[in-house]
């Protein structure tokens, strides 16, 4: 798996940038699924494949739960119109610049983080985790849309899980993370459906 670690990191950077920059729910959901794939590769560097694959499956389940509930809400409210969240060019550029800043900060800070705090953890694992966490925090800070907030929270947890997996192997911990990830996804789906109900009532 070590041979795939650099491609996995590149995949993570691209996916997290896509989540930060674009507002099309389909693109965001695909990017989140790709992010989980990259994270799976990085986690498998420190965990047995059987345990690492749990993160991938749970991540994809969470992505599916959030994305499909958004699709259902979207279809209910806007059956024939464009389904992407409204956006402007200037905000795309702003978010792109913010994402680049995080990439630069990541490369600048992670080597010292490895030396001082996590000397036994591969640099690529730290970089992957910090990248996802940074992008997720930026996303959380700049929007309040339920779909994107839940995706940001799932991403933030994923970034943390990548780093934490290199520090500790525990079946119970994996189980608890599964509970929290699926719980967050369910909460997200619940909010999205509630939002849809509210909007439907307003329209009718």
């Amino acid at each position: 798996m070590e041979a795939f670690s650099i491609p996995a990191f590149v995949l993570i950077v691209m996916a997290s940038m896509m989540i930060l920059i674009f507002r099309d729910w389909r693109l965001t959901a695909i990017a989140l699924a790709v992010q989980y794939l990259g994270a799976f590769v990085l986690v498998s560097l420190s965990w047995p494949l059987g345990m690492a694959v749990v993160k991938l499956i749970v991540g994809w389940m969470a992505t599916a739960a959030v994305a499909f509930s958004w699709q259902a809400t979207d279809a209910r409210n806007q059956p024939s119109t464009d389904t992407s969240i409204t956006d402007s060019t200037s905000s795309l550029i702003f978010r792109g610049a913010a994402g680049l800043l995080i990439v630069l900060l990541n490369f600048a800070l992670t080597p010292s983080l490895q030396t001082n705090v996590f000397p036994q953890v591969d640099l690529v694992i730290i970089q992957g985790g910090v990248m996802i966490m940074g992008m997720a925090l930026m996303q959380l800070g700049i929007n309040s849309d339920p779909y994107l907030v839940i995706i940001s929270l799932l991403s933030f947890l994923l970034g943390f899980e990548i780093i934490h997996a290199a520090l500790e192997v525990s079946t119970l911990l994996t189980g608890l993370f599964v509970l929290v990830n699926l719980g967050l996804a369910l909460v997200g789906a619940y909010f999205i459906s509630k939002l849809g109900e509210g909007e439907s009532q307003i329209e009718s």
Binding site: N116, V117, L140, S144, P146, V149, L153, F156, L157, F160, I163, H164, L167, E168, S170, T171, L172, L173, T174, G175, L176, F177, L179, V180, G183, L184, L186, V187, Y190, F191, K194, L195, G198
Partner: protein, 473 residues
Amino acid sequence: MSLSTPLIWVLLPIVVAVVCVFLSKQQALSFILAAATAFGLALLAAFFPEDLTLSIGPLNLAFEEGLMVLGRQITLVYEIFPFIAFIFGMTGLWLLTSSIPGVPTTFRPVSLVITASLTAALSVQPFLYAALLIMTAVLASIPILNTDKKESFRGIFRYLSFMTLAMPFVLIAGWLLTGVVSLPPESPLVGQTIVLLGLGFALWLAVFPFHSWVTMISEHNHPTVVSFLLFILPTTVLVFGLNFFDRYAFLRTSEEIFTVIRLIGTVMIVFGGIWTAVQDELKRAFGFSTLVENGFSLLALGLSAEGGLSWMLMLFPARALGYWLWGYTLAQFENHCGSLEMDALQGYGRKFPFLSTGLILAQLSVAGLPILASFPVKIALLSQAFSIGQGLGVWSFIGSFGLFMFSIRLLLKLTTPNDQDSIDLPRTRLTPEKRSEYVPIVLMVLVLLIIGMFPDSVLSGITDVLSAFSQLQ
């Protein structure tokens, strides 16, 4: 499979919660089942024999403290039982008010799941995994929050975000702590670890500036739900936090850490107190006053060398009962009046004398008025704060005075007659309050008075929890 304590206090309430979900159409049955479970588990924890053997007639049931789950141990030790009895008892008390109109139907099962998750958090080994169980309790609490209005989403998302961010901070700090114990205190990693841990707890306890979700949640949700959440989460987080001081000597012996905790506590008291005093909306005022209470807990923790831990624990029951009465009276007021804006309540003291008295006394009890429940502990805390540093004492006093100010403003508003009263009063009956509404208020006020007059005999039982933390006694 042998019987174990986690099966009783963690698994059983979750099973009952699932049954309550299926019984949601049969309100009376789910009410009785949920409340009986909570009170039953509280009583069982309070009177459980120390040798963990229950004798029912000829039947002897021997319990074990631990339960293996996925290779790790969940251990509910006998010493923590007073706290378990307390949180289940209080959950039962809140469940008694779950049939008030407006309380979500999910409140019964969800409150049981929250209490069970938090009990598991106090018993899981390694103790750090508790962070994930606290997060589970937070996630479980979402269905009882108001998601009908879009305005309430912001507060809930902020609550969810802060709680999610707190978990990694605590987990990473906990992992780092195991390594830094061997480092010299002047190592930068020690300070960084403490900052990470502090950030995690600051997010959990809504320490300024991470407090905004408290008032947002409090403003848009049912008072019964809010008072329950704002009681049970910080209380359990604080008890969980004692683990860190118990395990790591360098945290326990560091004077700087306790000074910082005292300062943060005082800032919260001052900030929360001043904001409470100027509020015009009663539910927001409740939110801000919970920040003051968290501040008092931190102040007590900061004074642990002077016996502050006992005060922190003794504050919990007095505060919980005050919150319950406050939440209950606010809920009843909301049902009668619709709005909880102070101006809208002008003259309501005449119309609803029991509710008004209950509300004012609940606030004054939490604020620490003499002869009410919180007074003995708060006066001891404030005196100790004065003896440590006059600034600390003066600012804490100013902050705690905020809630008194708010109560006086509210009292004046409630007792000032409005023009409508002079027309309505002769034609209407004396009070539209029903007996079922004011009897709980009268009983709770009596309990608050009894605690205020005999604090040692009522509150000291919970300090036995300290025996679960061998280094902190």
